[in-house]
């Protein structure tokens, strides 16, 4: 556990993400625990709802802008903003500035927020330099979620952190960088295509014989876990934060409690 010396007094705001809020609070608490381990004070603004991606990716720019303004105002006064999601941080960091391309005032605010926003594993490895103390004696495979991978360059960060987890073995799957078929509203608008994609993903997971699937975005994980259950596959699904925080001791995503 490393206290981030100079940052000791900094406050981190948790952007919890709508899916974690709704489906898997454990990921939110794991994130909080990790940041506290790193010596940060964590705050959770109650005015947060969603980052606006559903509107943005459906073409509803006006709603996306309205939601973005709300997020910018909610998080403006924090030193850091961290989310357990590459997708939501990609939205804030990459797409908010684009959304306000024609509006100097809001563009400036969007850029300010973008500058202090971090996806969790990036924050842990580049800002906190966290030493992981968790142990997890299972074999895992890691799915690289698209937004995190391609918009934020998240690939080595979670792996470097997982390497420190005692007992964990990483078995890379084929096509770990290929989309799982979630894609936000895509998966419900084009269920057949999405089904092929997620069943390919689950097929690649099976080939590794890993006991656990990890990833950094709950959307993808819900999709993979749901397909896993549908196919009766045995691998359990967790968010990487749950493992890093030593909080993967509850049933995996979509598993019934025993």
């Amino acid at each position: 556990m490393t206290a981030a010396n100079d940052e000791a007094k900094s406050t981190v705001a948790l952007l919890v993400t709508c899916l974690v809020d709704l489906f898997r609070p454990n990921i939110g608490f794991a994130t909080v625990k990790l940041m506290q381990q790193a010596g940060f004070t964590v705050d959770v603004p109650t005015a947060q709802t969603c980052c606006g991606q559903p509107a943005y990716n459906s073409g509803d720019q006006a709603s996306a802008q309205a939601v973005a303004k709300q997020v910018i105002e909610t998080f403006a006064h924090y030193d850091y903003v961290v989310a357990p999601s590459g997708s939501c941080i990609g939205m804030v960091k990459v797409h908010y500035p684009e959304l306000f391309a024609g509006d100097a005032e809001w563009r400036g605010k969007a850029d300010d927020l973008a500058g202090k926003c971090y996806e969790l594993t990036t924050f842990l490895s580049s800002v906190c330099k966290l030493e992981v103390t968790a142990s997890f004696s299972r074999s895992v495979t890691y799915h690289d979620s698209c937004s995190g991978l391609r918009e934020l360059g998240i690939k080595s960060q979670p792996r470097a952190l997982l390497e420190q987890v005692k007992g964990l073995t990483l078995k890379e799957m084929e096509d770990s960088e290929v989309c799982c078929g979630f894609g936000g509203t895509f998966c419900v608008k084009y269920p057949g295509i999405s089904e092929r994609m997620v069943s390919d993903k689950v097929g690649n997971v099976k080939k590794t014989h890993a006991e656990v699937i990890l990833g950094g975005d709950l959307g993808c994980l819900l999709n993979i876990a749901g397909r896993n259950k549908r196919e009766g596959a045995s691998a359990e699904v967790f968010h990487v934060a749950e493992v890093l925080a030593g909080m993967a001791d509850i049933p995996g995503i979509g598993e019934k409690s025993t």
């Binding site: 959770v44 459906s58 073409g59 918009e151 960088e177 998966c187 979509g254 019934k256």
Partner: protein, 472 residues
């Protein structure tokens, strides 16, 4: 799939049908790995790849900014070297120009692979006049036998398995005295070579596409591996090139920069077997080559894409890398897209050419995973352009009412955090109760889009915000 009546507007049923096609699934699985791995290797072997990519983008952006100048310069050089240039605003005009050049009826016309000629609907137009069209690229030949359009911009028959090709040849080749059923790749290729060789030698006109047009010299450039594009243009008396207007580049050096990206991105080769620069008609003392050389410059809406939010797509060099890396293309193949250009570049370009209202699904049927933009050698921001189509569709009221009402309700909630948290607390509770002791749900009312393909993991029971408030 009924390919005769396919259309971009029928994307959904076409995609559904494609997903049921086991041959297609096998063929696509086979193709994908080859393309992806070979490209990766070729790109990693070129240290300068990124800087060449930047340079290539600069060249194309420069051309687009001065497109009128370079087209006129190209035209001047073609004429100076004894060729002819014809301009066509529409596919129909372009077909008419070709008809006029060919003249008469009942001619045998060779064709090298040309996506622009697909855009023109050229084969059907020529056949209507009683001409015989012979596609000479092996992949194009195969699909011509099957009466299908190409399903990929560089591998037109990628959707066909070897068994299907074997059947086609066995069915179509007896008329040439070839009766034996062949199953091995070398034998199939050899037989096609034999059948087509005769046609090469006895045709009146050759039509090829162009990968580049060079303003410096008035040359048209084609890149092939088979050599069919070469035989198609040096054996007949007339060589016609069909090209879209954005293909022009200033100099041979500029073309060289783009060539360094093209084959690597397309097939993972450093250079394709044949890169051919055709300049004018045969010279008076040449012993072979075409007596006539015609270049048809087709606009088909591109001049209006210029200067728009979508201009970046005009940098496309049709390498096919975005198709090869697209998981949606990998699932449904090219025919389901319903028009000439499939995959990410197609989903951007098609609505621009045939109208967004006729291709509404194309920009939507994408998970925005970003892989296409990552591999595009011309740095075309494909996901952003697809999203721009979605903005336009929304602005123009072209989205379905379910999505529209869904978004309105969603926006209403997310803009009111208190209401939002109250509602999500209820929702999470309801779902948790429904799935109590199950872990995940097989079916959920109003969520069949999700549950048709996968279970819905059950929420933990309370929202994070609820639990966080309690903890404090």
């Amino acid at each position: 799939m009924n390919l005769e009546h396919r259309s971009a507007a029928r994307f959904k049923p076409q995609a559904a049908e494609a997903l049921q096609d086991d041959n297609l699934k096998r063929a696509l699985a086979k193709a994908k790995d080859g393309f992806v791995l070979k490209r990766l290797q070729a790109v990693s072997n070129l240290n300068e790849f990124e800087s060449i990519r930047t340079e290539a983008r600069r060249i194309k952006d420069h051309v687009l900014k001065h497109l009128d100048y370079y087209l006129e310069e190209f035209e001047r050089k073609v004429i100076a070297t004894g060729g002819h240039v014809h301009w066509a605003e529409t596919a129909e005009q372009a077909c008419n120009v070709v008809q006029d050049i060919i003249g008469g009826e009942g001619k045998q016309v060779l064709k090298g692979k040309s996506m622009v000629s697909e855009e023109m609907g050229l084969n059907a137009a020529l056949e209507q006049r009683g001409h015989t069209v012979v596609e000479t690229d092996l992949g194009e030949y195969i699909i011509q036998l099957a009466h299908e359009p190409p399903s990929h911009i560089i591998a037109p028959a990628v959707h066909k398995t070897r068994d299907q090709i074997s059947d086609l040849f066995h069915q179509e080749h007896p008329k040439y005295g070839l009766h034996k059923r062949l199953t091995e790749v070398p034998d199939l290729v050899s037989e096609a070579r034999q059948v087509l060789r005769d046609k090469f030698i006895n045709s009146d006109v050759g039509i090829t596409g162009a990968n580049f047009l060079i303003a410096e010299t008035g040359s048209t450039v084609i890149v092939t591996n088979e050599g069919n594009g070469d035989l198609s243009q040096i054996l007949p008396n007339v060589h016609i090139v069909t090209a879209s207007i954005e293909k022009v580049v200033p100099t041979l050096n500029d073309a060289s920069t783009l060539l360094r990206l093209l084959a690597r991105s397309a097939t993972g080769q450093e250079m394709s077997s044949y890169t051919t620069f055709s300049t004018g008609a045969k010279r008076t003392d040449d012993q072979d080559g075409p007596e006539e050389f015609h270049v048809i410059l087709l606009d088909n809406g591109r001049s209006k894409v210029l200067g728009s939010d979508f201009q970046d797509i005009l940098r496309c060099i049709k390498c096919g890398a975005c198709l090869n890396h697209c998981p949606v293309y990998g699932a449904i193949g090219g025919h389901a897209y319903g028009w000439v250009y499939p995959g990410p570049m197609g989903s951007v370009l098609t609505p621009l050419i045939i109208g967004l209202e006729n291709a509404l699904d194309l920009p939507q049927a994408c998970s925005l995973n970003g892989r296409c933009g990552q591999v595009c050698p011309m740095s075309i921001p494909l996901p952003d352009l697809l999203r721009r189509h979605r903005f336009k569709a929304f602005q123009q009221g072209l989205i379905d009412s379910r999505t529209k009402y869904g978004l309105t309700a969603w926006a209403l909630m997310v803009k009111r955090p208190r209401l939002y948290h109250a509602l999500t607390s209820v929702l999470t509770r309801v779902l948790a109760l429904m799935g109590k002791s199950k872990g995940s749900l097989r079916a959920v009312p109003f969520a069949s889009g999700w549950t048709s393909a996968r279970d819905l993991p059950v929420p933990q029971g309370q929202t994070f915000q609820q639990l966080w408030a309690k903890r404090k």
